[in-house]
């Protein structure tokens, strides 16, 4: 035990004395959370909207006020003619144009039916979709408002509720994603590199020729990174609660337990990589290419897995971050408990046990 502690202390010296490692360890998670939370958002906030109002009557004005008062749109009135619209899109600032035909109010009152035109810039598909959705729901809202006192039979109004994230905040998806990403990187890459470094500098040679059990070398190496990764979890959660306004709905204790499990999965992966490689560069390359890319692609954090072709969907199952992402999302945003997450937890647990067994089995107690 004393040996183990001495080893862990040595490991902390290594980390704390290397500025670059420290920067990666603690700078990266904070930077990623802030970048994903603020800069890389797919929300439609304050989108510039151009209005071409041929009607200029009561109804069009009312509807316009409604659109303008939502925080999604900034209205720019313009007396443009239809033809000039294309030019304004090309300048790129305008996200959408709303056109009211002449006699809008009249049509509405006399024909019980009026039309407006929404033109969006679909070079960015997601934004275009979102803007049309928002605009349609505002129009819908207005329609309900003026129909309040009228009795029209046979009408079905879908009432949409966005559960768990009623404001459709982007941070909801990113925090669990970044958490999976950061923990994966820190745990896999750092552990792999730090074990391979002992091989590369020859210290492993001395450690092997000592009564210290090789297996303990591995655990002593992994332990500090478990601790540091947990510190990262705390940092990410604090940032998400206090800076991004995203509280943890479910049990914080459960979230920590699941994070610990995922970190151990990653450490096991890192150990496995370190056993199979001999230089720090290769270890880093494999960690980055082999871990980062699949995580970005297959965790469901950037691209929905349901939309992928079936073979890719199957591949996504072996990516540990996918399961962790589901778990974190469920706990943080939906507030679910272990009862609904036992399957994902079990999968992670299975992966961990498998990786650890394979690593221990292939660990070389000699050189070569």
């Amino acid at each position: 035990m004393k040996q183990f502690l001495a080893f862990v202390r040595k490991e902390f010296y290594h980390v704390l004395r290397d500025r670059r490692t420290l920067l990666i360890l603690f700078g990266m998670p904070i930077a990623q959370i802030l970048i994903f939370g603020f800069a890389l958002t797919n929300e439609v906030k304050d989108s510039e909207i151009l209005v071409v109002d041929y009607a200029k009557d009561n109804a069009s004005q009312e509807l316009l006020t409604k659109i303008g008062s939502s925080r999604y749109f900034n209205i720019r009135q313009a007396a443009f003619t239809h033809k000039e619209i294309l030019g304004t899109f090309q300048k790129g600032k305008i996200k959408a144009v709303v056109v009211f035909p002449a006699n809008f109010n009249g049509d509405l009152l006399h024909h019980n039916k009026a039309q407006i035109q929404i033109i969006t810039d679909a070079s960015d598909v997601n934004t275009a979709n979102m803007i049309t959705n928002y605009l349609s729901s505002i129009v819908m809202d207005y329609q309900n408002q003026i129909n309040q006192n009228l009795e029209i039979p046979y009408r079905i109004t879908p009432e949409v509720r966005m559960l768990y994230n009623p404001q459709l905040k982007g941070a909801h998806g990113f925090v669990p994603g970044v958490m999976a990403l950061v923990l994966l990187l820190v745990s896999v890459m750092m552990t792999a590199i730090s074990i391979v470094r002992e091989k590369e500098t020859g210290t492993m040679e001395i450690l092997l020729v000592s009564p210290f059990k090789p297996v303990l070398v591995i655990f002593a190496k992994a332990f500090p990174y478990l601790a540091l990764s947990l510190v990262n979890v705390v940092a990410i959660l604090l940032l998400s609660v206090f800076v991004l306004d995203l509280p943890v709905k479910g049990s914080v204790a459960l979230l920590f337990a699941e994070s610990t499990l995922f970190i151990i999965t990653c450490l096991a992966l890192g150990i496995f990589i370190s056993i199979k490689t001999d230089t720090q560069q290769i270890a880093m390359l494999i960690s980055l290419m082999g871990m980062l890319l699949p995580t970005m692609m297959f965790s469901g954090f950037l691209f929905p897995i349901e939309n992928m072709p079936v073979p890719l969907q199957i591949i996504s199952n072996i990516v540990p971050s996918k399961w962790f992402y589901i778990i974190v999302k469920s706990i943080m945003i939906k507030g679910l408990g272990i009862a609904s997450l036992w399957k994902e937890t079990l999968i992670l647990l299975g992966m961990t046990v498998f990786l650890l067994l394979v690593s221990l089995k292939s660990f070389k107690i000699r050189l070569q």
Binding site: H14, D18, T203, L208, V209
Partner: protein, 301 residues
């Protein structure tokens, strides 16, 4: 009692089965300072790694303190001290931290065995808070030796401990080894420096994975079969050329400012005349004192 027994040890590398250690046998008594002397690539490191259980032999057997290097590797690992050829301590840890770490890993404390390393440690103690990576070559070696000694090993394996170390530190290092011998620690040391061979109790000359000769340095020197001449002239390069052309020459090579040579019939006067005939001036011919290097070269031919 024999501390280390090596029998017909063989080590090959790679698919081509390149032979690094070829049927090597020797034994080392307890408390002996045994040297493996040979150039780079002779197989010294491979032998050391097999004896420290880091490599498995491809043939033959060996034991350290009576423990088999394959079966009983755990016992060997906890009882021997090993200092690899490459400086292998933690560069970002200070002298003191390194020593403390290795003491703890071996289940002991610095205080417990301080008497063993005291002579060496006092020399680097003033820098104990300096990181190992910032030490000079000589100081690094002293620290590495301290770390290898801190658990009071029965046998110490030092793989080229003086390579890349300045002459003064080298001399100090060997003095330290002589003192360690008094503690009844068996020491196996490898070195490419022939001049260090005479500081060992017994040496094995090794080349191409094969042992050429095992004996005390003095016996190896005494066993030199020929009369060895040291020859000097105004031009070394031409001197060597001329010597090679001598009808009775056995062997000749540069040795410092002299050329060392052996002949089938060593008549110094005739030789001097022969050299002058070939246009060399300032010719000096005398009997040379045989060194290990001369013996090694002789054994190679």
């Amino acid at each position: 009692m024999e501390a280390v027994v090596v029998k017909n040890l063989v080590k090959t590398y790679g698919k081509e089965k390149t032979v690094a250690v070829d049927d090597v046998s020797f034994s080392v008594s307890r408390g002996e300072l045994f040297g493996l002397i040979g150039p780079d690539g002779a197989g010294k490191t491979s032998i050391f790694r097999m004896l420290t259980t880091l490599l498995l032999p491809d043939g033959g057997s060996a034991s350290v303190d009576g423990h088999d290097i394959v079966k009983d590797f755990r016992q060997i690992r906890s009882s021997v001290g090993y200092m690899p050829g490459k400086f292998s301590l933690y560069q970002d840890l200070t002298i003191e931290e390194n020593l403390h770490f290795f003491a703890t890993v071996f289940g002991t404390t610095i205080e417990e065995n301080y008497h063993l390393i005291k002579d060496i440690y006092v020399q680097i103690e003033p820098f104990k808070n300096r990181r190992a990576g910032k030490l000079s070559g000589g100081m690094k070696q002293k620290l590495a030796l301290c770390c290898a000694l801190i658990h009071k090993p029965t046998t110490l394996f030092l793989d080229e401990p003086t390579t890349g170390v300045d002459p003064v530190s080298r001399k100090e290092f060997w003095e330290m080894l002589a003192r360690l011998k008094e503690q009844n620690i068996t020491i196996l040391v490898s070195t490419p420096y022939m001049d260090e061979a005479s500081l060992c109790d017994r040496i094995a000359l090794i080349q191409g994975g094969k042992i050429l000769s095992i004996d005390t340095p003095q016996n190896i020197i005494n066993a030199y079969p020929d009369r060895l001449l040291a020859i000097k002239a105004n031009e070394m390069y031409r001197l060597l050329k001329v010597l090679e052309g001598h009808p009775d020459i056995l062997n000749s090579y540069a040795f410092g400012e002299y050329a060392h040579a052996t002949f089938r019939d060593a008549d110094t006067h005739a030789l001097q005349a022969y050299l002058r005939e070939h246009g060399l001036t300032d010719v000096e011919v005398k009997d040379a004192e045989v060194t290990i290097e001369d013996s090694f070269i002789k054994l190679l031919h």
